[in-house]
């Protein structure tokens, strides 16, 4: 691990006094604000599509933030480890909200929801990512960590990588052409995963 620069040490010091639950509060406020805007802002011509995308995008952004925790600590000495569980759980809640808006407000019919999941690959992929998130959310507490043991728990939570890849593909695939923004997220996620590959062994001196 890199030795933190003085500025990073200061930031780490500040972060120590921030309780992780503030992230849940901020996440809930943001989710509620997006919903309120979709329900009331007449300037949003297509509020259903807007809300669906806003929740989906927030999920991906939180996922990128979750994946950035370890590299930031390893390469910059910035310690955000205390916040990672909250970030990960917020991914789950935003994906759940995204899914509910899609099913209840957008598609509006259970049969059509099921048909889309079975027939449309980008929906299938999104659904798979959500299903993989469920065990992660369920075991994201200290009791599960103790019961499973650190090694098993860590292995299980590597599913996050699969979720990230599926989420990125889902976003690229639903665009009508090759839009720039989905490719940026795909690149970010690929980069953050590449940083986890075992480092090539330094040549013997």
């Amino acid at each position: 691990m890199a030795v933190p620069a003085p500025l990073t040490q200061t930031v780490n010091g500040w972060l120590r006094v921030v309780p992780p639950w503030t992230l849940y509060v901020l996440g809930a406020l943001y989710m509620g604000w997006l919903f309120w805007r979709a329900a009331t802002d007449v300037a949003l011509v297509e509020p259903i599509d807007w809300l669906e995308r806003a929740y989906g995008l927030a999920s991906l952004q939180l996922l990128v933030a979750t994946l950035a925790v370890t590299p930031l600590r390893r390469f910059a000495g910035l310690n955000l480890l205390r916040f990672r569980r909250a970030l990960g759980l917020l991914v789950f809640f935003f994906v759940l909200a995204h899914l509910l808006v899609w099913a209840l407000l957008d598609v509006q019919a259970l049969g059509a929801v099921w048909a889309d999941i079975v027939k449309r690959p980008y929906v299938t992929i999104g659904m798979a990512a959500f299903l993989l998130l469920v065990p992660l959310a369920v075991t994201s507490n200290d009791r599960s960590l103790r019961r499973l043991g650190g090694a098993v728990w860590r292995k299980l939570h590597k599913l996050t990588y699969a979720v990230a890849v599926l989420g990125a593909i889902h976003y690229v695939w639903l665009a009508r052409g090759f839009a720039l923004e989905p490719l940026v997220y795909m690149g970010l996620i690929a980069g953050l995963l590449a940083l986890r590959l075992p480092a090539p062994r330094a040549a013997a001196a």
């Binding site: 011509v45 509006q108 048909a115 449309r120 052409g177």
Partner: protein
């Protein structure tokens, strides 16, 4: 409006043709020259230069040439047509266009024997078009119709909206409107009209032939490979609006005869 309801066919209730607001029609657009997002055209189209404007008419016509817009429209009757617009993405609007029948323009330039299709081309102004700079599609945007589709009385060249000049994000100063086809067929900001013998290229069809056919008639029974086309959402209903069934030919049944004997799942 000149018999707009009558044009729509008896199956469609009158309240179904309540137009969207000018604000909705001008702030939620697909015009990829200005970017991918629905807000991009309204944000960037202002810089497009539309004066002077001329349309090159060429190919199998008696009177080819570069027509100043006013000359092309001279003597033709501008009518109001309240049409439903169904986007291939699954949303729809109702738009009160002002325009002339394409058939009248074609008659004016004189369609020659042997012409079977009409090809259209959109202006390219790279310096003011961020989407062109980024090359999000192969520009210029091109589209085409079979000659009988082009000459159908429902097919218009629109020059206005709500009785005013056409806003730039909606394809000023002159655009095609073919109400029974998905919106992307109705090419915007036209600078060239060519009468040709062979089926001309169409931008979305070139970009992804398995997803966008040359005909692209609105058809609830033929799904887009990535989403159903059975229903649509009318813009303007808010967060809790219901989907409504999509109608064959977007409700314009009178065009069915154009496709008699054709397999519309094959020729989608």
């Amino acid at each position: 409006g000149l018999g707009a309801a009558a044009l729509a066919g008896p199956a469609v209730a009158q309240e179904d043709l309540e137009p969207n607001t000018l604000d909705q029609i001008t702030s939620y657009n697909n015009f990829y020259e200005f970017g991918y997002d629905k807000e991009d055209p309204a944000a960037h189209a202002d810089a497009m230069v539309i004066e002077p404007w001329s349309v090159k008419v060429d190919g199998l016509v008696d009177r080819p040439g570069d027509y100043a817009l006013a000359d092309l429209l001279d003597g033709l009757e501008v009518e109001e047509r309240i049409y439903r617009l169904r986007c291939v993405e699954g949303w729809s609007m109702v738009i009160p266009w002002n325009g002339v029948e394409l058939a009248d323009v074609l008659a004016k330039v004189g369609v020659q024997e042997g012409a079977r299709f009409v090809a259209f081309e959109t202006t390219v102004q790279p310096e003011v078009m961020p989407g062109v700079q980024r090359g999000v599609l192969d520009f210029p945007y091109v589209e085409g119709l079979r000659l009988d589709e082009a000459q159908h009385p429902l097919t218009i060249l629109a020059t206005g909206l709500y009785g005013e000049s056409l806003p730039k994000q909606n394809g000023a100063p002159i655009r095609l409107v073919v109400p029974w086809k998905y919106g992307f067929k109705s090419i915007k900001s036209i600078v060239r009209i060519s009468l040709v013998e062979q089926q001309p290229p169409a931008t979305w069809n070139l970009t992804n032939p398995s997803e966008y056919g040359f005909y692209s008639n609105v058809n609830p029974t033929v799904d887009h490979p990535r989403w159903s086309q059975a229903t649509e959402r009318r813009i303007g209903g808010g967060l809790f609006s219901s989907r409504q069934p999509t109608l064959m030919f977007n409700g314009y049944d009178e065009v069915a005869g154009l496709y008699e004997g054709m397999d519309l799942a094959e020729n989608f």
